[in-house]
Symmetry: C2
Subunit: 325 residues, 2 copies
């Protein structure tokens, strides 16, 4: 059992199947818990049951949906229905493509319970990487994907200052404490003696912020590597085996090998693959393919918890087995 | 293992939970297989997964939906989505209240796949018992229920002639074979000698037709007993314990005791109860209450198969245990 410190960033896989269901492969849904916020990534049919089973039906802060296809959205009416029966009052921020936001307004009308909570809708730009949300703890970005309909990926990133103050240097250069906030923000300092001290002399490079990228459904888009550089964990769809790369391209999907190529280019630490077509009864075969290109590839199985700790990534499987990196 | 003969009428419980989900209690859905037809009764969220797990994703002939509340309908878009991705072509007959049929036309528009099969919609009358369908093998009736919104129950009944020909009497009275069809329909016969032979002298009472009643969501409606007289198996909602009869009445639901009272009045052979509120963590307690009034009460657990054989009712649980009556 890993230490409890830094257990503030966790992804739980609620469903990782493709468009048609396969045994034990529900449609796409994940819940990210990060510093007290609960963020739902896609809401395939059955999400509410899987939340109850692997996580909880506590209120959600944000819902980020990639695109309008049924296997990514059909759990939302039922979840909102249950929240309303439970008198949830916390506002929900819903981010997605224009099609999904429009659909939300349609189902809100036919749902037979009035929503018990306000929903703030956010239409995500489809043309470029966009900062959607920022607070002291996190930033959330969207990325345009390439699918048969408008689709976006998301990155949830820890918000930490790029440089950290060196207390020894502060004492050495005799810098007044009032300046610490500005120094953290990157400004140079002025000593009590009136001397300008460059920021880099009194700070050092902070650790890399932890981050999680959720990329589905999409063709292989090599240019994404630039946006995803240094991401800690990336979930990337791998609907097809490498042998079906033409079919992948025609249907706006990726192969396991392409997911691994992107992980390698972006130098992520760990790759989760999912959305594997129901035709593959042994999805581990696709993991094997991907590992030839990117060894730290794992299958996003239902109930898997991925903890992003400061110094390691810790995978906890529903059967009790564990793995850390 | 029971004999395979007469295994032509089977109900499989796909979900039996109430409005908010509880562990292992998915929203309401059942599949009835009868003489080669597949009939879906309500389509709670997750129906497609449960079909895959306990039955199959083969095409469905009929969908009978009781009412428009989310926990009875939200699995339909996903099921139709999957059927369309699988290129199912068999027409589906959808029976329900005007609200559900209207909702079908709404979601048909926003579903991102065109339906691969035709859907024949049938608006069910809300004011009286109605014959919805009849063929040589079965009849399907609807019954008005009493809920917070328009709701109907359904009875699926084997179609057999009420009287059976007695071959010995046919020989004895020297009746020409050409008359057998008319005799079966209830007409008197004329012997070769020109004598009129009353129908009851050459026929005998046939066995009772097997039938299944699906009654949810509703308050206790004692007048239903008349319509349900002699039904073989009745599923009846039992959202509340007997202690909550006032709450049951206010919310348009029944208690386990009321379900049992109706079963007793209607002289059904076996009562299945379900739709038990998520507040009851031990639903077996409600079965105990019901059994005091109607001993042959059983809980509709997920994966339970109820076989209506000609001479017995056979319950087959997903854990392999069995019971017959």
């Amino acid at each position: 059992m890993a230490a409890l410190k830094n257990k503030d960033f966790c992804i739980t896989i609620l469903g990782s199947g493709s468009a048609t269901p396969a045994p034990n492969r529900f449609h796409t849904a994940q819940i990210v818990s990060f510093k007290g916020q609960r963020i739902l990534l896609d809401v395939g049919e059955g999400t509410q049951y899987k939340l109850l089973l692997y996580d909880s039906l506590s209120p959600i802060h944000k819902v980020l949906i990639t695109h309008v296809h049924g296997d990514h959205i059909l759990g939302l009416p039922g979840l909102f229905f249950t929240f309303s029966l439970n008198n949830v009052e916390r506002p929900v921020h819903l981010y997605s493509t224009p099609q999904v936001i429009e659909w939300f307004f349609i189902f809100k009308e036919w749902l037979t319970v009035p929503l018990s909570f306000p929903v703030h809708t956010h239409v995500v730009p489809l043309d470029k990487k966009t900062l959607l949300y920022a607070d002291r703890e996190m930033e959330i970005f969207s990325l345009p994907l390439r699918h048969t309909t408008a689709a976006v990926g998301y990155v949830i990133k820890e918000n930490i200052p790029p440089r950290k103050i060196n207390p020894d240097a502060i004492r050495k250069f005799d810098i007044p404490y009032e300046q610490l906030k500005l120094i953290k923000m990157g400004y140079d300092a002025v000593s009590r003696g009136g001397k300008v001290i460059p920021n880099e002399n009194i700070t050092y490079q902070n650790r890399n912020p932890r981050s999680y990228a959720f990329i589905t459904d999409t063709s292989y888009v090599p240019e994404l590597a630039e946006y995803l550089k240094g991401v800690t964990v990336m979930y990337h769809e791998a609907t097809f085996s490498g042998q079906q790369s033409e079919e992948a391209n025609l249907t706006g999907h990726s192969t396991a090998v392409q997911a691994a190529q992107l992980a390698k280019q972006a130098q992520v630490k760990l790759l989760l693959i999912g959305h594997i077509s129901s035709r593959y009864t042994e999805p581990e075969e696709l993991v094997k393919e991907a590992r030839k290109v990117f060894p730290n590839t794992f299958l996003a199985v239902e109930g898997l918890k991925v903890w992003l700790e400061i110094d390691k990534i810790w995978l906890q499987y529903p059967d009790g087995s564990e793995f850390s990196l």
